[in-house]
C-alpha cells in the first residue's frame, strides 16, 4: 500500500498514471494495441515529439517559442528545393538544418541580446518565416525530384520506421543533456532565477541564444522528416504546431515559469496528445465531438497530475 503510494506520488507519478491509462485503453479500444497501430501512432507524433525536445529547454529557461511551426515548414521547403536544385539530397538536408538553425539563432540574438520579449519576437519570426516559405515557393507545394528522398521516411530498421528511431534517439539524447550535462542544469537554473544564475557565472545570454539555435536546428530535422513523409515541401505545413508542442510540454510537467522540466514527462505529454487523437479515430468519434473530447482529456490529465502532486503536499 505504502509503496504503491510512493510510486504514484513520486517524481515519476505522471508516467505511472499514463501507464495505467494506456493499459485501460489497450483493453477497451479494439485495434489499439496492434503493432501497426502503435507504429502509426508513433509516426503521427514524430513532428511534435522531436520539436518538444528543445521546446522543453526553451520553456525550462523561461522562454517561449511560437515560431517552430513556421521553421518546420520553411526548412522542409528548403530541403526539397535545395535537393532539387543541386541534385544532391545531402546538400538539401544540410541546407534545411542550416536554415532552421539560422532562424533559431536570429530568434536567440534578438531575444537574449536585444532583450526583446520572446513571445513577440517569435510571433514576428513565425510570420516572417512563413512568409518567406510562401514567397520562395509561390505558395505552392514543391515536389521532390529524387525518390530516394522518400526513403528517409519509408525506410525501416528492425521493422520500425526511421523517423520513429530518430525521435527516440533525440528523446534519449536530450534527456541526457537535460539531466546529466552542465548545459541542461544551466538551462533549468536560468529558468529558476535568471539573475541569480548570471551572478553565479552562467552566461545567460549565450545560453539563451544556444537554446533557440538548437530549437531551430531540431525544427530543421522535423521539417526534413515531414517533407519526406508527405513527399513534398509544403509552405502551409505545421501551422499551429507551436501550441500542440507547448501543450505537450506543459502536460508533461514543464513549468511555463521556468526551472522545471523532465524528459519522461514530455514524452508522456507527447504520447497523450497522440493517443487521444488515435483513440478518437479508432472509436469513430464524430469530428465536432473530437474537439470536446480532446479538451476534456487535456483537462483530466492535468487534473489527475495535480491531485497526485497536491496529495504529495508539494507547494506550487
Amino acid at each position: 500500500m505504502n509503496s504503491l503510494k510512493k510510486i504514484l506520488l513520486g517524481e515519476q507519478g505522471l508516467v505511472v498514471i499514463f501507464a495505467a491509462a494506456f493499459v485501460i485503453v489497450s483493453l477497451f479500444v479494439p485495434n489499439f494495441l496492434t503493432e501497426r497501430n502503435m507504429l502509426g501512432l508513433l509516426q503521427s507524433v514524430v513532428t511534435i515529439g522531436i520539436v518538444a525536445c528543445t521546446m522543453m529547454f526553451c520553456l525550462a529557461s523561461r522562454d517561449f517559442d511560437l515560431s517552430v511551426g513556421s521553421i518546420v515548414a520553411f526548412s522542409g521547403m528548403a530541403a526539397v528545393m535545395v535537393s532539387n536544385a543541386t541534385g544532391s539530397i545531402p546538400v538539401g538536408l544540410l541546407a534545411a538544418l542550416l536554415c532552421g538553425a539560422i532562424v533559431g539563432f536570429v530568434n536567440g540574438i534578438v531575444i537574449a541580446r536585444f532583450r526583446i520579449n520572446a513571445l513577440i519576437t517569435t510571433l514576428a519570426t513565425m510570420q516572417i518565416v512563413r512568409g518567406l516559405a510562401l514567397i520562395a515557393s509561390d505558395g505552392r507545394a514543391v515536389g521532390i525530384n529524387d525518390p530516394a528522398f522518400y526513403q528517409l521516411a519509408l525506410s525501416r530498421f528492425v521493422t520500425v520506421p526511421t523517423p520513429i528511431w530518430i525521435m527516440l534517439i533525440l528523446f534519449v539524447f536530450f534527456g541526457f543533456v537535460l539531466n546529466r550535462t552542465v548545459f541542461g542544469k544551466n538551462a533549468l537554473a536560468i529558468g529558476g532565477n535568471p539573475e541569480a544564475s548570471r551572478l553565479a557565472g552562467v552566461n545567460v545570454v549565450n545560453m539563451r541564444v544556444w537554446i533557440f539555435a538548437l530549437q531551430g536546428l531540431v525544427c530543421g530535422i522535423a521539417g526534413i522528416l515531414l517533407a519526406s513523409r508527405i513527399t513534398s515541401g509544403q509552405p502551409n505545413a505545421a501551422t499551429g504546431l507551436e501550441l500542440s508542442v507547448i501543450s505537450a510540454c506543459v502536460l508533461g510537467g514543464v513549468s511555463l515559469a521556468g526551472g522545471r522540466a523532465a524528459m519522461s514527462g514530455v514524452i508522456v505529454g507527447v504520447l497523450i496528445m497522440g493517443i487521444a487523437e488515435n483513440v478518437m479515430n479508432l472509436l469513430n468519434i464524430q469530428a465536432f465531438y473530437q474537439y470536446v473530447v480532446r479538451g476534456l482529456i487535456l483537462l483530466i490529465a492535468v487534473l489527475l497530475d495535480n491531485l497526485r502532486s497536491s496529495a504529495a503536499g508539494r507547494r506550487g
Partner: protein, 508 residues
Amino acid sequence: MAFLEFKHISKGYPGVQALADVSFSVEKGAVHGLMGENGAGKSTLIRVLSGDQAADAGSILIDGEEQRYGSVRDAFHAGVIVIHQELQLVPELTVAENLWLGRFPAKGGVINGKTLIETVRSKLEEIGIDVDPSAKVSSLSIGARQMVEIAKAVMLDARVIALDEPTSSLSSRESEILFSLIEKLKAKGAVILYVSHRLDEIFRLCDSLTVLRDGKLAAHHPEIAGTTREQIISEMVGREISDIWGWRARPLGEMRLEAKDLSGPRLRNPISFSVRRGEILGFFGLIGAGRSEMARLLYGADARDQGQVRIDGAAVLPDDPKAAIDAGMVLCPEDRKSDGIVQGRSIEENIAISSRRHFSPFGILNPKKEAALADEFIARLRVRTPSRKQDIINLSGGNQQKVILGRWLSEQGVKVLVIDEPTRGIDVGAKSEIYDILYELAAGGMAIVVISSELPEVMGISDRIVVMCQGRVAADVARPNFDERSILTAALPDKNAAGTIQHQEHGR
C-alpha cells in the same frame, strides 16, 4: 494574564517536523523574543499565527478566545499582523498602495487616491520613516523596503504583532527607529512576538523569551531578566560557544585585489581600495551608503562607468560576472531571494551551480562529486534539511543563506571573495562556523571583502574597515584603531540628514 497562548502546536512538512507540540504564552503588553537555530521552526510558528499555514494540531488563544481562522484575512480581523521574514511587497505598486493592499480605502470599489497617499504620508512622518508614499517599491533599496514592511504593522491597530527578523536588512540607524516604534506599540498594549538571531536586540527589547530547537520548545523564560547570553546560546545550539568572533592575527601578503576609481550610474563618486592576500576587509555603512553597489561594480554585475579592477596585477574585465569568476573573484550577493537562490532546484544543484565546471569534463556532470560537495557543506554549515535533493525554496531563510554561502565557499581557485551581508538571518552557532571558514580561507592567501551592516560583526572579524557614507569612502580604519563610536560617526552623513533612507532604483 496570558494574552496570547500557543497550545500544543504541531506542523509537519514532508520529511520535516517543523513544529512538535509547542506550547507557551505571552503576557499583554509584552515583547516576546523567539529564538532558535536556522530551521528551528520560528517562521513556521509565525506563519501558523498569521493564518497562512494551518497547524496539523494544536490551537491559538488570544485574550482567552480560541482562534479558528482559515485565512490571512481571518487572522487580520482577529487583530493579528505579521511581518514575514521574506519581504512581501509588490514591486510594481507604490509604497502607499502596498501599505493599503488588502484593505484599500474605497467607496463602491473606487479607491480614494488622496486618502491613500495622505494617510500614508502622515503616518510615515509620524513614525519617522522618510519614504515617498507615491514611489514605486521597485525603486527602493532593500533596507527601505524593510522599513515599508514595518510601517505596515504600525499602520494598523493590531492586538498581536509578529516580526520575523525585521532587522536583518537594517543597519543600526534604521533599527533604532524600529525599536522606538516597538516601544510605542508596547505602550498601547499590543503583544509583540519578535524573532531575531541578534542577542543584543533580544536583551534590549524583550520582556520574555522562548527558545525553539528542532521544532520543540527548548526553553521558556517568562522573565528575561536573570538569563544570560551563554545560557540562551546553549539552549539554542545545545553547546557552549565561548567566542563567536574568534579572530586571530594572520600574516598579510602581497597586494591581491586593487580597485581603482570604480563608479557607476548609481555610485557617482569614484571609489578606490585594495586588499592584501590573507586580509579580511570589512565595509561598513548605513543603508544606501553604496556598499552593495560598489560590490556589484567590482564584480561586473552592473556596468561600470569607469574604474579598473586588478587581481594579482591582472586586469579583470567588467563585461560579465563570468569574467570575474574566471579571474578568481566571486560575489555572494546581498539579496538572497532575488540574486541568490535558484528556485525550483535542489540544494545540491544550488551549491554546485558554479563550481561544477571544475569537475564536469566536456560539460558532462559528475553526480557523485556533486552529491559529496553538497553533503560536505550541508554538514559544515549545519543546513537543516531532510535531504540534499530538497528544493531550496522549502528551506528556512537562514538555511537558504547557508546554501548560497556553500555555493561560493565550494568554488575552487578563488583569489578574492566578496560577501555582502554574509550572516544575514544566520544563527549564532553557524555564524562562528562561517567566520572560521573565512579565517581559514584568508589564511590560505585569499583576499576577503565582507560587507556588513552589523557593526559588532564588522569589528569582530575584519582586519581593516572601510566606512562608506553616501557613496563615498568616509574612513579607512585598521584593526588596532577600531572604535565603535568613531566608526559610527564616520558612517553618519550629517546631523540633519541622519536617518534618511535613500531611494534607489533596484528594479529587479
